[in-house]
C-alpha cells in the first residue's frame, strides 16, 4: 500500500507531469477521437476540455476511493458505469447553462465516455493510488488535455475565422483560412503541434545527452 516501486514522487509532480512530460494529447496522443471534432473554435475546445477534465477528476476520485471494494473481475464495467454517470451529469449541466454550447458540442459530450484518456487513467492510476494523488493526477491530466485542446482550438479559430472566442483579432479585411475549421484543418493542426513537440523533444534529448551520460 505504499507508493510505486521507485519511491513516491513528489505530489506536485503528479500534477505537473500531465502538463508537459506525459501530456495526454501531444505526447501520448490519447483521447483525441471524441475531442478533435469540436476543436474548431476556442470556446468549444475549452468547454470540451473542461467537461472532460471534470469527468476525469471526479471519476478518478471515485474510482480511487472505491478501489478496495470493487472486485477485479468487474472493475472495468464499474469504471464505465461511473464515467458514464459523470458524463451524463456534465451533459445536463451544460444544457442547463447554455443550450447554444450544448448544440455546438452535440453528441460529442456524450462521447467523453469512450475517451480512452479517462478509462486509461482510471485503470492505470486511480485504481492503484490514493484519493489525493488520483485527484492531482486527474487535475494534471485534465489541465494538460484542456491546454492541448485549447491550443488546437485557438489556432484553428484564429486562422479559420480570424477571431478568438468570437472576438475579431485581425483587421476586418482578414481573409479567413476556412480549411482550418474544416476537419482536415483539425488533422493538420494536431499534426503540426505534434511536429513541434517532436522537434522540441528531439532537440532536448540531444542537448541533454552529454549531461545525462555520466549518471
Amino acid at each position: 500500500m505504499t507508493g510505486p516501486l521507485h519511491g513516491t514522487p513528489a505530489l506536485g509532480d503528479e500534477f505537473v507531469k500531465g502538463l508537459w512530460r506525459d501530456n495526454p494529447v501531444f505526447v501520448q496522443v490519447l483521447g483525441m477521437c471524441p475531442a478533435l471534432a469540436v476543436s474548431n473554435t476556442a470556446r468549444n475546445a475549452l468547454a470540451m476540455g473542461l467537461a472532460t477534465s471534470f469527468v476525469l477528476i471526479l471519476s478518478n476520485a471515485v474510482i480511487s476511493s472505491l478501489r478496495h471494494v470493487i472486485p477485479k473481475q468487474v472493475r472495468i464495467a464499474t469504471y464505465i458505469l461511473v464515467i458514464a454517470t459523470f458524463v451524463t451529469v456534465v451533459d445536463y449541466a451544460i444544457q442547463a447553462v447554455s443550450l447554444d454550447l450544448h448544440k455546438a458540442l452535440g453528441a460529442f459530450i456524450s462521447l467523453i465516455v469512450v475517451n480512452c484518456l479517462i478509462l486509461g487513467r482510471a485503470e492505470a492510476f486511480a485504481s492503484k493510488h490514493g484519493i489525493g494523488r488520483s485527484l492531482l493526477d486527474g487535475l494534471g491530466m485534465g489541465a494538460g488535455f484542456t491546454v492541448a485542446l485549447f491550443s488546437l482550438g485557438a489556432v484553428r479559430e484564429i486562422l479559420g475565422s480570424g477571431t478568438l472566442f468570437g472576438i475579431q483579432v485581425f483587421h476586418a479585411d482578414f481573409q479567413p483560412w476556412i480549411v482550418m475549421i474544416l476537419p482536415s484543418g483539425g488533422f493538420f493542426t494536431l499534426a503540426a503541434w505534434l511536429l513541434v513537440f517532436n522537434a522540441v523533444t528531439a532537440r532536448r534529448a540531444r542537448a541533454a545527452e552529454p549531461l545525462e551520460a555520466p549518471r
Binding site: 479585411d173 483560412w177 476556412i178 482550418m180 474544416l182 482536415s184
Partner: protein
Amino acid sequence: MTAPARTLEIRTSPHMVSGYSVDTIMFNVVVALLPVTAFAVYAFGLAALLVLSTATVTCLLTERVACRLSGRASSLGDWSVAITGLLYGLTLPPGLPLWMVVVGGVVAVALGKALFGGLGCNPFNPALVGRAFLQAAFPVAMTTWSPAFTSDRFTALGSSTLTLPFTRPLYDAVTSATPLALWKFERQASEVGELALGFIGGSTGETSALLILVGGAYLVARNMMSWQIPVAIFAAVAAFSGALHGLDPETYASPTFMLFSGGLMLGAVFMATDMVGSPMTSGACLLYGAGIGMLVVVIRVWGGMPEGVMYAILLANACTIHLDRWIRPRVYGATAQEAPR
C-alpha cells in the same frame, strides 16, 4: 600496341544503361507544358504571367528550404519541382491574389512532398495538394474567374491579383463563369469548338484542350508518359457521360462537352499521369484512369461542385498502391494458385 596500364573500374553489371534519366524525363514534361503555359499567358495576360511565375518560384524556394532543413542535397536539378510549380500555377484562377498563390505553393511542396521524404515518396500529386488546400481554404477566391482575352490584359492587372497578404481580395465587377458552372447551375452548354481551342474562362492552364493534347502526345511519343491513363480517363468519361446524355440530354451534358470542359484535359494528361502517384503496370493504369473518369462524372453530375477532376485524381492517388498490389503481372513460372498478395 601496349597493354593498358591504367587502373580498371570495377562495377557490377549491367554495364549499359538506357539514355533515360529522371532529370531528362522531368525536363521533357516541362517542355511539354510550355505551349500550354504560353497560351495561358496569351489568354489571360499579365495576371497569368504573375500567377505562374509566383507559383513556380514559390515551389522552387520551398523545395530548396525543405532540402536544407532535412539535410538532403538540393534537388532542384531534377526538374520535378519545376513541374509541380508550373502545374500548380496552371490550375489556379488567373486573378487569384498572389499571396494565396504563395500559400498554396508552400503547402504543395512542404505538405505534399517534403514531409513525406521528397521526390518519389509523395503519395499525392503535390500540385493538386496545393490547389486542394487553397480550394478548401479560400473557396470564394478559388471559384472567381476573370474573363479571358480582355483587351487590356497585357497592360492592366485585375484588382485582386495584388491584394495585400492575408486580406480579402476585391474583384472587379466583371468576372466570368466557367463552362462547367454555366452548365451545372444554368444548364447552358458552351460551344465545343471554343472549348477545344480555349477561348473560355477557367483556370490559367486548363482552357486550351488542344495544346494540352499536343504536349501529352509529345510525351507519349517519347515514352515518358503512360498513354493508358489519359486514354482510360477519356474513355470512361465519354462512356459514362454518353450513357447519361443518351438517357436524358436535357439534364446531362454531352460527352464532348464533358471531355473538353474544365480541368479534365490538363488533369488527365499532366496530373493523373504523374509517375510517382500513378500505378506502375499498364493494367493498373487503365483501371486507375477509368476510376478517375467515373469519379469525375459522378462529382460533376451529382456532387456539389461543378468540377471534380482534382478530387478524382487525389482519391485515385490514394488508391494507387492498392491497384499496384492487386494488378501485378503474374510472375513468370508462378502457379496460378499463388496469387500475388
